[in-house]
């Protein structure tokens, strides 16, 4: 199980990496592994306002469907269109090319309530 050191994690297996005022959001390597071959990433509307815990999108693999929740509050400012066309990027590079959305953080302090990489590694220890 890969862990991204500079990201924070939600219990529902999403990660966020803060870049200035923006949080880059994706699902963890653990989550992609559990889902298996991902075949579909649902649409995310640019400009939508989300609260932490709101539904961001849904992801489908061959044998499962999973709702993905935003780990932070804010406005969606960019969506990874490449991952919509090639959902397998989530499998191959969950913390890199497989990111899902960039969210302009309305409450940057919020990320502190998420798990650190070490805490998440402990949380998802097999």
């Amino acid at each position: 199980m890969k862990i991204q050191e500079d990201a924070r994690y939600a219990k529902s297996d999403e990660w966020v990496r803060v870049e200035g005022q923006v949080g880059v959001v994706g699902i963890s390597d653990y989550a992609q592994d559990k889902l298996g071959d991902i075949v579909f990433v649902g649409e995310i509307a640019v400009g939508s306002e989300l609260k932490a815990g709101d539904l961001l999108t849904s992801i489908e693999s061959v044998k499962a469907a999973s709702d993905i929740y935003s780990p932070v509050s804010g406005k969606v400012v960019e969506v990874n269109s490449e991952v919509v066309a090639k959902p397998e990027l989530v499998n191959s590079d969950a913390f890199g090319a497989g990111w899902l959305a960039k969210i302009e953080l309305s409450d940057p302090a919020e990320v502190n309530s998420l798990m650190s990489a070490a805490e998440y590694a402990e949380y998802r220890k097999e």
Partner: protein
Amino acid sequence: MTLYDKSVAARCAFSFSFEEDEARGESCVPEYARASVKALPEVSELDLVRHFTNLARVNYGVDTGFYPLGSCTMKYNPKINERLAADPRLTMRHPLDDESDNQGVLQMEYELKESLKEITGMDDFTLQPACGAHGELTGMLIIHAYMRDHDPRRTRVLIPDSAHGTNPASASMAGFQVVTVPSDGRGGVDMEALDRLMDDTVAAIMLTNPNTVGLFEENITRIAELVHARGGLLYYDGANLNALMGLIRPGDLGFDVVHLNLHKTFSTPHGGGGPGAAPVGVKQFLAEYLPVPIVVSRDGRYTLDSDRPRSIGRMSAFYGNTSVLARAFVYIRMMGRDGLVAASRAAVINANYVKSLLSPYYPPAYDRPVMHETVLSAKGYDKYGVSLLDIAKRLMDYGYHPPTIYFPHFPPHAEEVMMIEPTESESKETLDAFCDALIKISKEAQEQPDLLLSAPHNTVVTRVNETYAARHLVTSQRDKKENG
């Protein structure tokens, strides 16, 4: 190759004495409504026959071999059922023709309904639902309508975590919110959780009994009392009735609504995915909500009653899958009182026999005697790098259809389990040979795991890439053409 690939312009598999010319027909409809000629294949009759005969040959069915698919009750489909259901005096009936012309078919449906009432202990039945999920929706709509009239606060439905996915989908489609009830350590409903969840917002609990792990719900009477005492209703998913005929009746246990999959317990063939039929039975206080029309007997005549103001309405255009109902009618009539009991007895003995032969190699999920099916674990083989899927695929090489192996959302203590339902149709020799195959496979898993990982080898195609299909969606010949 599809039929399109075999098409040659001007070939024809059809002869008919047309009396008009096409131009006359086209002139009958206005320009704005007219379509161009549709792209259908053109093949000779023998091309067509070979195409579909060869397709049927590469399909595995009960008539080909043992099909122990748990929860699906793949019992033998007697051929007399097929012959009688194909009687033109039945198949040529127009559903809207005068009742006086349809007395035979209406009587058949009426007598089937009476038999089902007796087998289940319910007071009335509709024969309209087309298959299990349609039956569930019908039953849950009946409960929805009843609660609307009597206690509209009740908008939630309790469903055990072991339930088939159709149950929550049906409850949700009928307008309810679904609440999951956990299982206890013995595979039954967790009574403490039920006690906590069963409040005055709950309309009903949906139960499968024996449940999807083949276990009889030991607390069923207590569950019924608890749910009824707090104003809820009990829904019985009769997909797994095959163990209980003549032994116990859902109506006597306190269930208010029940659906039966005729394509399971009552031997109508499954057709590779339907058509089935799923009559829904109710207690008297719910009878007024059944969908219309209902076949009734009045003064020695059979008639379709549509004058039921509280009915939920219609579930389909007509009265149900009549020729499927006919097969079940014939099955019940031929088996009779003793035959149904004998079928359940044989099904239960077969399941326990398979469980005892295989337990040393594939430990049971719960160590209790089972009813009509058994759930066994292949978790121990992961240390050889072999999954249950690999074992299932290897079974194909031995000439068997694998048991049920997919359990999305199943309780975690039951991961990597297979559900085997032998049914009463199989002989001891068949069961012995099948168990031998699974035992051999358990040795292969340890000694030659590659044999399993690359299985099946003897089928018309090897493992099919589901991921590729989902990522490169081609669902018609038109898609194929567009993709070049």
